[in-house]
Amino acid sequence: MNPEGLKYSREHEWARSDGSGAATVGITHFAQDNLGDVVFVELPDVGEDVVQFEKMGEIESVKAVSDLYSPVSGRVLERNEALTDSPELVNDSPYGDGWMLRVEVSDSSEMDGLMSAADYTAFLDAEA
């Protein structure tokens, strides 16, 4: 369910390093399932800085508006513009087409502090 090779935060965001200093970030399957149908995603502009574990945007579902927390620090290189018209991509494909930002990671050691897929699955089991 939670793909290998990704890094996971306690706030239920994931980051995938592309090996050349950038990472793609999004929210996990668990997060989208708990939020329910997503209707709006607000993300920072390209060129803005995001800080690890600090607010990077907002996500609105039929249930509630929630903050999005960045799993890494760095400058925003690209954001998923498709989410503007199709926020349901977050529900349909949280690890694929529902990605949110591509970030130029300022401190790659931050990624080491995140959880592996196995650790995150154990974390979810402990939370339940």
């Binding site: 209707v39 709006f40 249930k63």
Partner: protein, 497 residues
């Protein structure tokens, strides 16, 4: 082929524009009795806006039919947590409609509206007495407006003392959702405080968060968990000792009114949602009333105007006037708040009196605890302790074991003629179902509700799809809420569905 039954149903659902017939009128204009003049330049007139053409009888029937689709407290039980949907006595409306209250203008001379200003003054006095505070401004138009007023007062207080480094406002995670927005709008930084395992403010986290940057704390009492924070005296002392202002969100005043006074607990400023605790129809977005009520430290900063009682005049009558507090933060809106809402609250307080007001909180708390005790075991109780005016259950187990969510339980309640409780709030409770029975419901109504909730829990186990597809007995069944939010279709077009 369409049966006549189906035709009846579909014709009752026709929108006003679809009932329009060219040339049909609801009124006949009188003969022209002024000189004719030319219309303005054609570019100022638009002819693309279609207006409905229907007879008077048709329009009355249209709106009456729509009103029957409404769900209201006058029709059904409405346990919508946090919103306090209690019965609103009709006497309140009668008093607010008296010509001396409803046919006056805010700009007419004070001497010609003495009764209305006296009502404002008396209401201020009642609220000061009920909350144990020093002074009150009735100007804020709603609860969140009162919050903003209170935080602007806190800001003015710190700035006047040259304390311009106090930026942080602490807000427990069990606070009302509007609190962080109000603090941010007043120019503060919001710092969230966790609750402890009992649902009280975590005192260790609070002690760690107070420093020279502390502007104050906003706390909802009782909290949105429906719990009275038993640490409250420590909370207010820690904040005040650190130089902070203690703000009380009094939206849940109905749980403690007549029994506990905010002033006695160390609060500096609070607001009260009069439309909730002191009844008036609400839930459709207003009008509300959110008076801000201050203790000695902040009373001079209240929003203007304040009603005052002056000297007796030559004839021995009391004189009332509107005054500006000495260091006021200014106006929260035009004139003096929503007068009609204030008049209804005055009427409710006068109706109940000193003996009746404590019964508001007594009955509200007993009713909520009755529901809690009867539904324990059927739904999860994340904080299993005596509650105040509302009880927060969780549908976590139902979801895990049967795939039925809080949303599904809420929708199924509609089939039994009961308004859904507040769902998915407070955010710190998973699959939250927040139930506020209010003090105006009978034991028979509560027993029916309890029976229905137990039945729904059983249905969830036996036939979860019954819940997934609910409601079944309403003119519209389960709506596609995601599509409604993503692609709202709000405009009528000729020929459209």
């Amino acid at each position: 082929m369409t049966t006549l039954f189906e035709r009846n149903e579909s014709e009752r659902r026709l929108l006003l524009m679809d009932r329009s017939r060219p040339g049909r009128l609801g009124t006949t204009l009188p003969r022209l009795d002024v000189p004719e003049s030319d219309l303005p330049d054609g570019s100022m007139l638009r002819d693309d806006l279609e207006l409905p053409e229907v007879s008077e009888g048709e329009i009355v029937r249209y709106f009456s039919q729509i009103s029957q689709l409404n769900f209201s407290i006058d029709h059904n039980f409405y346990p919508l947590g946090s919103c306090t949907m209690k019965y609103n006595p009709k006497l309140n409306d009668e008093i607010a409609s008296l010509p001396g209250f409803s046919d006056i203008h805010p700009l007419q001379p004070e001497g010609t509206a003495q009764g209305a200003i006296k009502l404002l003054w008396e209401l201020q006095e009642y609220l000061n007495e009920i909350t144990g505070m020093a002074g009150c401004s009735l100007a804020p138009m709603a609860g969140a407006d009162g919050e903003l007023a209170g935080m602007l007062m806190a800001r003015a207080y710190h700035l006047e003392r040259g304390d311009d480094g106090r930026k942080n406002v602490l807000i427990p995670d069990s606070a009302h959702g509007t609190n962080p927005a109000s603090a941010a709008m007043a120019g503060f930084e919001v710092v969230s405080l966790p609750s402890d395992s009992n649902g009280n403010t975590d005192l260790d986290a609070l002690r760690d968060s107070v420093d020279d940057n502390l502007a104050g704390l906003m706390i909802t009492l009782p909290s949105t968990l429906g719990l009275f924070d038993t640490n409250i005296l420590d909370v207010t002392r820690i904040v005040r000792d650190a130089g902070g202002i203690v703000y009380g969100d009094g939206a849940n005043l109905n749980a403690i009114v007549g029994r506990v006074k905010f002033g006695d607990l160390g609060f500096d400023v609070i607001h009260s949602n009069l439309h909730k605790t002191f009844t008036q129809p609400h839930g459709g977005g207003g009008p509300g009333a959110g008076p801000v009520i201050a203790g000695p430290r902040l009373v001079d900063y209240l929003p203007t105007p304040i009603a005052e009682r002056g000297e007796r005049d030559g004839g021995g009558d009391e004189r009332f006037s509107l005054k500006r507090p000495p260091k006021t933060i200014g106006r929260m809106g035009a004139f003096h708040g929503n007068f009609g809402a204030l008049a209804r609250a005055w009427a409710y307080i006068r109706t109940l009196g000193r003996e009746g007001i404590p019964q508001i909180s007594e009955d509200a708390v007993i009713n909520a605890n009755y529901v809690l005790s009867q539904l324990r075991g059927f739904y999860d109780l994340p904080y299993d302790r005596s509650c105040m005016h509302e009880v927060v259950f969780s549908a976590s187990s139902l979801r895990r074991e049967h795939g039925a969510r809080a949303l599904d339980v809420a929708k199924r309640l509609i089939d039994y003629g009961i308004h859904p409780p507040t769902m998915y709030f407070p955010l710190i409770v998973d699959e939250a179902l927040m139930i506020e029975p209010t003090e105006t419901e009978s034991k028979e109504t509560l027993d029916f509700f309890i029976e229905v909730m137990k039945t729904i829990a059983k249905e969830a186990a036996e036939d979860p799809d019954l819940l997934h597809d609910a409601p079944h007995n309403t003119p519209n069944t389960r709506l596609d809420e995601a599509r409604a939010a993503r692609r709202p279709d709000l405009r009528w077009r000729r020929g459209s569905e």
